[in-house]
């Protein structure tokens, strides 16, 4: 694996044909290319929806970061939950639409894929590794708990795909 490919997987195909470079100029070029590729990935392919979801997520942290944000005594959304929800959204594979972001009375963040009132899937992300989820798929329904580290559990992903397909 050459230097470029080790920096960003998406850059591998761009540079694999040439011989690896050396020196400070080469390093600057690598950094420049890396930031360009990251910016491209963020702003073109998934960019706009991902940015919207990130903005929504930040707004939730701001609006719901205090106790009783809903007027019914809701617990505050904590930064840990925000971070975990951010990682969840960024772990979504290409082609999956980003969710609507909200919060719950217990302070957990809701990520929701809504197509119609009876075609909806919702995941709660809190400060621990547990993901509580529920979904309606017409007459069928599902609910359960999964663990989230850095990869979205396959069962959760399959429910998201089912609701948006």
């Amino acid at each position: 694996m050459n230097t470029f490919a080790s920096v960003h997987p998406a850059m591998g195909s761009l540079v694999s044909a040439g011989s690896p470079g050396v020196g400070p100029d080469h390093q600057r070029l690598v950094e420049l290319l890396q930031s360009t590729v990251e910016r491209l990935l963020d702003s073109i392919s998934l960019g706009k929806p991902l940015q919207d979801a990130s903005r929504q997520l930040y707004e939730v942290l701001e609006q719901c970061g205090r106790s009783n944000w809903d007027g019914y005594g809701a617990k505050p959304v904590l930064f840990d939950s925000y971070e975990r929800a951010r990682r969840f959204i960024r772990s979504l594979p290409f082609g999956i639409p980003v969710p609507e972001v909200s919060a719950e009375p217990d302070g957990e963040i809701t990520l929701e894929w809504f197509v119609a009132p009876t075609r909806v899937f919702s995941v709660s992300v809190g400060r621990d590794d547990e993901l509580n989820y529920a979904g309606l798929f017409g007459a069928s329904r599902t609910y359960g708990t999964e663990v989230f580290h850095d990869e979205i559990p396959e069962v959760v992903l399959s429910h998201i795909k089912r609701v948006v397909s």
């Binding site: 809903d70 809701a74 909200s102 009375p105 217990d106 809701t110 929701e112 809504f114 009132p117």
Partner: protein, 163 residues
């Protein structure tokens, strides 16, 4: 017999036509329940829907008001009073019939004061996924009524009267 029936129906008619008859403690299946919404996170303006989060329980309860035989103005007045008490903005309300709640295995119990207040109870304890599922099912049947719609209607009718 005829005299009794006449008396019975007149009494019934009078009772139903009273604008603000206080409901009894037993909650009927067809009663309308309003959930006042003080956070923009609990509804979607684009999709005009109440989100399930609005119906997630806090300490095993969801607070609602029984609004049968109230006018729209009277319903919003209750919400405004609660908003004032809690120093919050009232954005909207979610309306649903009692049977749509009890149909999901929950109960509704009168919890006054304030007048007409009730709680949705009977949520599965320590089982958040099931609570989420029930909240999704209730939200799917709920109707969102935006406060700003009412304000807009009042302003429009005021403009018409002035014009």
């Amino acid at each position: 017999m005829m005299r009794f029936l006449k008396w019975f129906f007149l009494t019934l008619k009078e009772w139903f036509l009273k604008p603000d008859t206080h409901p009894g403690t037993i909650i009927g299946a067809n009663e309308n329940l309003s959930r006042f919404i003080f956070s923009t996170r609990y509804f979607s303006r684009q999709a005009l829907r109440v989100k399930a989060e609005a119906y997630m329980p806090k300490e095993g309860e969801v607070s609602v008001f029984r609004v049968d035989r109230l006018t729209a103005v009277q319903i919003w007045k209750i919400g405004d009073e609660i908003a004032d008490e809690r120093n919050r903005t009232l954005y909207a309300r979610g309306d649903i019939q009692a049977r749509e709640v009890t149909g999901n295995g929950l109960d509704i119990v009168s919890a006054e004061p304030p007048p007409r207040h009730a709680n949705i109870v009977g949520w599965p304890a320590n089982d958040k996924p099931r609570q989420k599922l029930i909240a999704l099912q209730i939200a799917a049947l709920a109707t969102l009524v935006l406060k700003e719609q009412v304000t807009r209607v009042l302003i429009t009718s005021g403009e018409r009267q002035m014009g």
